[in-house]
């Protein structure tokens, strides 16, 4: 549940208030039924601390926190159903092809050389992806290493913030994000932008703040799919864009080598 609160808001909590929030995270089922006094007694804190923590979290009070906890428990109850739907894998195959066609349009292909030049020439290169987007970032990072372009990959703040905080206009960050609205990815892009570094974004939402902050924005079309608010958008086209970048990087590497030779 703690992930529902923004980092900047969480950072305003005192250690005692944070400890109560951690306690809540570990005892969701109990909190759902406890009164504030019972919660205070069980977590070795006071009702006043709990109320203050709730207000800092922009909640009206403990009652609203308990309401959120109950919602959270309901949402977590994703379970495999006994009956199997008649959904055909052909539909999944068609969706994948449709997303790929939407992605590989001229607008993307024309940007790939520019993105690759920025990656190849970057003094310092960081890759960042969270959740399921961690894997397209890892995929590109592994290829870059094998091709001979070193980079650093992060899954979570705060290290990515610290790294990008030292960036200059000679550096670049590649961010993979399906929605482009998760605070850490937007924040990392904002820090990079502030330092005039090249921000390359692979994203499925062209209206997102991440997309708008990018120096080079690469569209990875993806159907939105969620179950009980769990994001299950396919990241296939993010992988496909990473793979296209690898192809361009291999060309760039050969071009660079041949121009050095001549």
């Amino acid at each position: 549940m703690i992930e529902a609160f923004r980092d900047d808001i969480l950072s305003t909590l005192t250690q005692g208030e944070l400890d109560f929030l951690y306690f809540t995270e570990l005892h969701l089922n109990d909190i759902a039924s406890w009164s504030i006094e019972e919660a205070a007694a069980a977590s070795y804190t006071s009702a006043a601390v709990i109320e203050r923590a709730c207000r800092k979290l922009r909640l009206s009070g403990y009652a609203e926190l308990r309401f959120l906890v109950r919602n959270e428990l309901r949402e977590r109850s994703v379970s495999v159903q006994e009956d199997v739907s008649d959904y055909s894998a052909r539909t999944a195959q068609d969706a994948l092809l449709r997303e790929t066609k939407l992605t590989f349009q001229e607008s993307l292909l024309s940007l790939l050389p520019k993105a690759v030049a920025a990656i190849w020439q970057a003094h310092s290169l960081v890759l960042f992806g969270r959740g399921l987007s961690e894997f397209p970032a890892e995929y590109l990072s592994d290829y870059l290493t094998r091709i001979g372009k070193s980079c650093r990959r992060y899954l979570d703040p705060p290290f990515v913030y610290r790294d990008v905080a030292g960036f200059t206009d000679k550096d670049a960050i590649v961010i993979f994000s399906s929605g482009g609205r998760t605070i850490p990815v937007v924040k990392a892009a904002a820090i990079a932008k502030k330092n005039k570094a090249t921000t390359i974004v692979v994203c499925s939402d062209q209206e997102s703040p991440l997309w708008k902050m990018a120096s080079i924005a690469l569209y990875a079309a993806s159907d939105q799919l969620s179950i009980s608010q769990i994001d299950l958008n396919s990241r296939f086209t993010e992988f496909a864009v990473a793979d296209a970048l690898v192809d361009e990087l291999l060309r760039e590497k050969v071009n660079t080598a041949s121009s050095k030779d001549s």
Binding site: A89, K101, A221, I227
Partner: protein, 248 residues
């Protein structure tokens, strides 16, 4: 050409010299024609082929023909048509095999995903996706730990092995799982891999050519894993899915 000449008889060396001198044309010759040209017997040509690690001259000749068309370099690599690759993956695999895989994932308690290197990243993606959809799997690189996991898995476990080449450790692990009587699902780009013989379900993935096989594209394998994940979600969590189509 071999690293050391000492392994070969003088007759075999004469065949190798002929191939070296006439590389382009030698691949067009039959065993008998090559033997005549090199001044030896056809048996020598066949023996040489086996010494070089081929099953016979037919396979060696095939390898020589491939050498005439060396691996594509990055410089002259054709522009890829990714949508065409994905369409090919769909055509290569029957929908019912993907559905059967997804349904087995819902039925069985133990699902072990095995793949090495870059393929392992593709399987990690599948593992995390399925985990989010209430289908816990075990994802491992193709190392000794995987061998231990397969050796101690319950009889109704499923082992999914993915490998572009369908060779090496992943093949060994598929063989081990098959020999233990476990249900094996294979994803590979190679039609000639022995992996096919050890699989109960075999799924094919395209792999675009790159100069170095170590950096071969895994996109075909990722496409197959994504189809499995999507099919699983829609078939087994259908009452809970909220979907919205992408648009430009």
């Amino acid at each position: 050409m071999p690293e050391t000449a000492s392994r070969f008889t003088s007759a075999e060396l004469s065949v190798l010299r002929y191939i070296q001198d006439h590389g382009k044309d030698a691949a067009d010759l039959s065993a008998r024609e090559l033997a005549n040209a090199a001044g030896c017997s056809a048996a020598t040509v066949i023996r040489l082929s086996r010494k070089l690690g081929y099953s016979g001259y037919a396979e060696y000749r095939f390898a020589l023909k491939r050498q005439r068309h060396p691996a594509v370099s990055a410089f002259d690599m054709p522009k890829r048509d990714t949508p065409a690759e994905i369409a090919a993956v769909s055509h290569l695999n029957q929908a019912k095999e993907i559905e059967r895989t997804a349904d087995l994932f819902a039925e069985r308690d133990t699902i072990i995903l095995v793949g090495g290197g870059l393929t392992h990243t593709a399987l990690e993606y599948l593992h995390h996706y399925l985990f989010s959809a209430s289908c816990p799997t075990i994802c491992m690189p193709n190392d000794e730990l995987s061998l231990d996991a397969i050796s101690s898995a319950s009889p109704d476990a499923i082992v999914l092995c993915a490998s572009v080449s369908g060779t090496g450790s992943t093949l060994d692990l598929a063989r081990e799982a098959h020999n233990r009587g476990l249900f094996v699902i294979g994803i590979t780009s190679s039609l000639t891999s022995d992996l096919i013989t050890f699989c109960d379900i075999h799924l094919l993935a395209t792999s675009a050519p790159r100069a170095n096989p170590r950096i071969a594209s895994r996109l075909g394998i990722i496409a197959v894993t994504d189809e499995i994940a999507c099919t699983y979600t829609h078939r087994h969590l259908h009452g809970q899915v909220i979907a919205k189509e992408a648009h430009v």
